[in-house]
Structures are given as C-alpha cells and as structure tokens.
C-alpha cells in the first residue's frame, strides 16, 4: 500500500457528477489513477463505467466536478485545446468502433494521415509494424466486417496506439469474447502495458481478468466508488456486495 501512496497520480477525478435526464449515473465520483499502472474499474452493467471512461476523455462533460490529467484541468480547456489534449490519449471502444467504410489499413493509418505530415510510405510502414505488434499480419486490405470480434479489437487497439498516447482506455475489452480469446486480449493488454509503460484504465466486469491484471481496482456501485485498492483488498473484503460480485451470485429475488 505504501508503494501506491508514493506513486505519481496521472488522472485525478474529483467529485464528478453526471445525470442523463432524471437518471443519476455518476453521483460524486472521486478517484486517482496512478501513472504507468493498470487501473481497472469494475461494476455491474449499466452502472456508468463507460460514462466515467468517456468523461475522462472529455467525450462527455460532467454536470459538476473536476478531472485533472497531468495537472491540467480537462474541462477548463477550450474545445480546441481539449481536442489537442486527446492526442495524448487512446481509447479502445467496446465494439472497436472501426470505421466500416474503410479497410483495416486505412483505419489504422487514419490518425497519422489526419495529424501528421508523414509520407504515405512511412505511414504504411508504421501501420504494418503496429499491426504485427498486436499480432495481426496480412489483414490490411480486409474490411472490418470481415474480421472476427477479437481481431477487430486488435485493430482498434492498433489504431488507438498510432499517435503514441501516454494514456490508454479500454472499454470492456473482453465482453462477448470466448475464454480463450479473452485470455489473448488480456495478454495483449499486459504486453502493451509492459512494452510502452502506458497509464492504462480498463472498464470491465470480468472478475478473472481483473484480478489477474490490475495494479489497482476501483468498484463503481450506485454512482459512487464503493471500494478501491489493490486486488488483495478486494479478495479479502468483508463487504457483502463485493463478495457477491466476486462470486457472481444473484440475489434470490433478483430480476436482471
């Protein structure tokens, strides 16, 4: 625990509130995301984990509260500065969100073509290097609709890493994948992390993966952080809800 206290904080979330209409999604969230570590935010489906993630990327602005990234208050920036700020961050969306009008190569090359003045040859070199680093080869000319779910996620990750971000967000990276693919995506996240030393934030409800990978876990429940800390803290927790979540049991009268 002392080790985490000394760690540098990368993202500081202070009392963030967000409602959609009458539905309160985030109800005063405060959380510190340590630099260069894997933080996993867990919670039931529909608890606003993805909303929290998108708030950190300034894709959604909170109703109240503050998010500070590298000591910069994200929502005090003008929209153009916010836009530039996003180049430091990458995000892998739940279903990869590949542009379905472009093939794999153009998808991955897209951020470079938009934001750099590299020559087409250099761009293609980098695209191929990036694709093989996420374990894909010779898929460049394929369209996203021709790929399997796991491959799409790999392409999505390759695209998110093209601008060499310092922070990477994963929105439920293993939802909808079989156990073997889940393990391979987990390994990909760990491998990317150890290779590039990124600050990694994962939103998940997959307990096995979370306990295996996380340096820090935060549990979101009813719009608040119920518990945060290293994995051991969770496995040893006496909180009945956390135990229930870890064991994956529904209440008798629960209708989900």
């Amino acid at each position: 625990m002392q080790e985490t206290a000394k760690q540098e904080v990368c993202i500081q979330i202070d009392e963030v509130h967000k409602s959609f209409g009458k539905q309160k999604v985030l109800d005063g969230i405060s959380l510190e995301i340590p630099q260069g570590k894997i933080t996993i935010i867990i919670g039931r489906s529909g608890e606003g984990k993805s909303v929290l993630l998108k708030t950190m990327m300034a894709l959604i602005s909170p109703d109240a509260g503050r998010i500070t990234i590298d000591r910069q208050d994200l929502f005090s920036l003008a929209s153009r500065e916010q836009n530039d700020f996003r180049k430091k961050m990458g995000m892998l969306f739940q279903n990869a969100a590949l542009f379905d009008s472009m093939n794999v190569e153009d998808n991955v090359a897209f951020p470079l073509r938009e934001h750099t003045t590299l020559s087409e040859r250099e761009i293609l070199e980098r695209v191929n290097a990036m694709l093989s680093s996420v374990g894909l080869k010779e898929v460049g000319p394929k369209m996203p609709s021709d790929l399997s779910g796991g491959m799409r996620k790999r392409v999505g990750l390759a695209r998110a890493l093209m601008l060499e971000p310092k922070i990477i967000f994963y929105d439920e990276p293993t939802t909808g994948l079989d156990p073997i693919l889940t393990d391979s995506i987990d390994n990909l996240i760990l491998d990317t992390q150890s290779r590039l030393k990124l600050t990694t934030v994962v939103v998940s409800h997959d307990i096995q993966s979370t306990l295996k990978m996380a340096d820090k876990i935060a549990m979101l429940h009813q719009g608040k952080i119920l518990e945060e800390g290293p994995p051991e803290k969770f496995t040893q927790s006496k909180n009945p809800f956390i135990q229930q979540f870890l064991q994956g049991k529904a209440d008798k009268d629960f209708i989900g």
């Binding site: 894709l59 996003r86 279903n95 379905d100 938009e114």
Partner: protein, 275 residues
Amino acid sequence: MMEWVNDFFSKNIWMQKALGRLGRPITPAIKGLGKFAFFSLETGKWSVSGSFHFKVLIREMMKIGVNSTGIVALVGLFSGMVFALQTGSAFKTFNAESLVGSTVGIALSRELAPVFTALMIVARAGSAMAAEIGTMAVTEQIDALRAMAINPINYLVVPRVVATTIMLPLLVGVFNALGLLGSYIVAIYLLQIPEGPYLYRYQTLVEPQDFYQGIIKGFLFGLLISLIACYKGFNTTHGAEGVGKSTTQAVVAGSVAVLILNYFLATWLLKIFPD
C-alpha cells in the same frame, strides 16, 4: 406588474396546468430548432476554419451529385413531357398551343426543377447521409473520431453539406435541360405544334432570370436538406431502430422544409426579379 402576474398564477392552479399543457408539445420543438441552429452555426464555423478534407468532399460529390444524375435526368425528361401534354391539350381550346414551350419553360426553371430535384436528393442522398452518420453515431464511430482528436462536424458534416450545396444547383440544370427536351419532343412530334412559333415564344418569354431563380433555390435547398440530414444522423440514439427513425425523419423534415422554404423563396425572388 411582475408581482401581479406571479400572484395571479400562483393562485390559479388550473391556469398553471393549462399553460403547462400548452407548453408541453411546444418546448421540445423550440429546443430542437435551437439545437439545429447551433449545429448549423457550428458547421458554418468549421467550414471556414477547419482543415479541409478534399478527398472526402470529392467522394461525397460523386455520391450525391454524379450518381444522382441519371435519375434526375429521367424524372426531368418525363416531367417536361407530361407538362407539355397537359398544357398542350388545355391551350388547344383557345388556339394558344405555341405558348406550351414558354409555359413549360417558366414552370420548369422557376419551380419544378428546383423542387423536384431537391425532393429526389432528399430521398436518395439525404436518407443515405442520415443512415450513414446515424450508424456511425450508434456504433461509437463518432466518439472514436473525437477520441482521435478529429472534430466530427468538420470531418463528416462539412464535406457533405458543401458537396450537396454545390451539386444540387448543377442537378437543377440537368433537370431543366432534360425537361425542356421532353416538352419539345411531346409538343412538336406528338401534339404537332409548329416548331417555329413554339421556339419563338420560348425565346421571347423565358428569361435568363427564370433560370437564376431555380439555381438560387437549388443552392439553398441543398444547404438545408444536407444540414437536416446530417443533424438527424448526428443525433441518432437507440441502435438500429434509431437509425431507421432518423432516416425517416430526415426525409420527412427535409421534404417539408423544401416545400415551405420554396414558398417564401418564391415571394422573395419575385420581388428581386419582377416580371
């Protein structure tokens, strides 16, 4: 004064309820208009200040304009033909068949060409735009653009709006040309109207400003329908069902807006170009 009003309403609960009921359907409509105005302003701002995506513009001009040429030409041809047929048989009763050319010419260039072309483009390109952008919205592709520090209005909306605004007046020209050809064929070969008087009347009665009116209309219709289609697509939620709904709304709102705007434009253009 204000105090009196407050007092009046706080005492009259039924009045509050009545006003509330009156406001319920109006409020979202005004909110929607406000959001649309903001969206249009944002598009205007980015079309001036944003980085320009030339490739996307060319692709959209191809999709919206070039690929619609055939169908617009076909509709133009048959509209001209049917108009000549109807006016021809009507004018025959008072021996004024030679006026068919000029009548069809004026109707086509001022009203039929811009309105029909705009309706065709709403149905063909507007629906496609709303569906494509709507699908991108519900599959998080628009969020992905923003996450990659790309403004989606600049990347998705500006090229489509610019392309439609450029292409629609050109398509109006195509509609006009084929419409005139159609009316010529029906009038001369079917109704046996003498060619000389037909062309003479056409030449003397149809002015270049009739065509300008159509082109100005086409330009403004293009701007309006593409903004509506992109706006509807952009604000799509609730998955596949939502995409369907946005597409329908884009076509309905686009067509209605064209017909309403057409009336006011006609009033204004008749003042600018008096007969």
